[in-house]
Symmetry: C2
Subunit: 197 residues, 2 copies
Amino acid sequence: MSTEEKIKKTALSLFLEKGFERTSIRDIALKAKINIALLNYYFRSKENLFNSIFSGLLEKYTPTLNGILGSSLPIEEKIHLYVGEYIDILLENPKLTYFVLSVLHRNPDKITQMKIFQSLYNTGDFSKQFMEEVRKGNIKEVDPTQFFINMLSLITFPFTIKQVIMEKNHMNEDTFKQFMHQRKQVITDMLLLTIKK
Amino acid sequence: MSTEEKIKKTALSLFLEKGFERTSIRDIALKAKINIALLNYYFRSKENLFNSIFSGLLEKYTPTLNGILGSSLPIEEKIHLYVGEYIDILLENPKLTYFVLSVLHRNPDKITQMKIFQSLYNTGDFSKQFMEEVRKGNIKEVDPTQFFINMLSLITFPFTIKQVIMEKNHMNEDTFKQFMHQRKQVITDMLLLTIKK
DNA sequence: TATTGTTTTAAACGTTTGTTTAAAATAATT
DNA sequence: AATTATTTTAAACAAACGTTTAAAACAATA
């Protein structure tokens, strides 16, 4: 593995675990077994390293999700696929949700957020289709914005309180996974129920 | 206002806005117009100051919510009240949800979490009542854990992406408030629909 | 093999961090 | 009024931070 890759990989794991502020470049260098100066040699600054990593994450995960929303599938099928795929992604990377929230909290300036929520909160196609189905009388008259936020909340929030859920319900990593797999159906059923006429 | 109160109030506003790590005790001292050393005179450390503030917040907000869950009201009424009250609290303090999440993320050690989620994730009474209603055949057979997480997710998560919601839907502070007030009904309806036979 | 370009290193840079000190100012008590 | 206790102050502390320097090691090229 190249030095650049080693830095990125190590930095990501530390950023996910401890957050940006509590991860020092010396932590990264130590764990990646590289010299501190290499960090500023490949990436110009810690901030730059972080942005590079974050962009990489977005490019890795958002195309699949946006592909589902932008497809020509019926709305019920989209919901079903979106919920399943999103939960699968977060099961592989449970700290991703808090990671994104921390980015939003750290960079409240609008321009920086643009790129983030353009790919992570991409409702354009979905809302159009949703309203069209309402117009046709196929589904109940529900606010698409509220609906999308419902979907996002039900999928992602549980991962931000994963430890609490696990301890309160005496789960281990495996039973939590199981619980989240069950949850796919719970969420899909719930969402479809609210729009079913 | 006493010096101690000034410190606490100022520190809370900065912790909410910028987070624990990015708030220095010099920031606090400057904004509160007090000497840095007073911070360690009244509270022994920055960490201690934070814990004191956090405990205060829990004591302020959790009794109302746990009072609702622990009451002898019918389950449908509990849900309705809980959703309304919780959203009202978060509308007054929109950054509270992320604040709590950041505490969970910063202190993954179990003991510290105990106090937090014993008051913020207090499902004992509620789950019992829920299962009793299921047994009686009054509501659908739904997993109370999934149900409670649904409720929590739908209420709290939108506040963690408040800025995104606002910018994506061209809202200002007022229209966001309006949106969240509408959301009370949306969530309550949704939750009741999932358990209604 | 000599030369150029790239990567890695050890060491230091100036700031900022949370915390402590010890004296000064103020308030409370006798 | 004198003494004690409490509160506030300016200044310094050591440690940690992100970043930079300049030389060394290595690789690529001619």
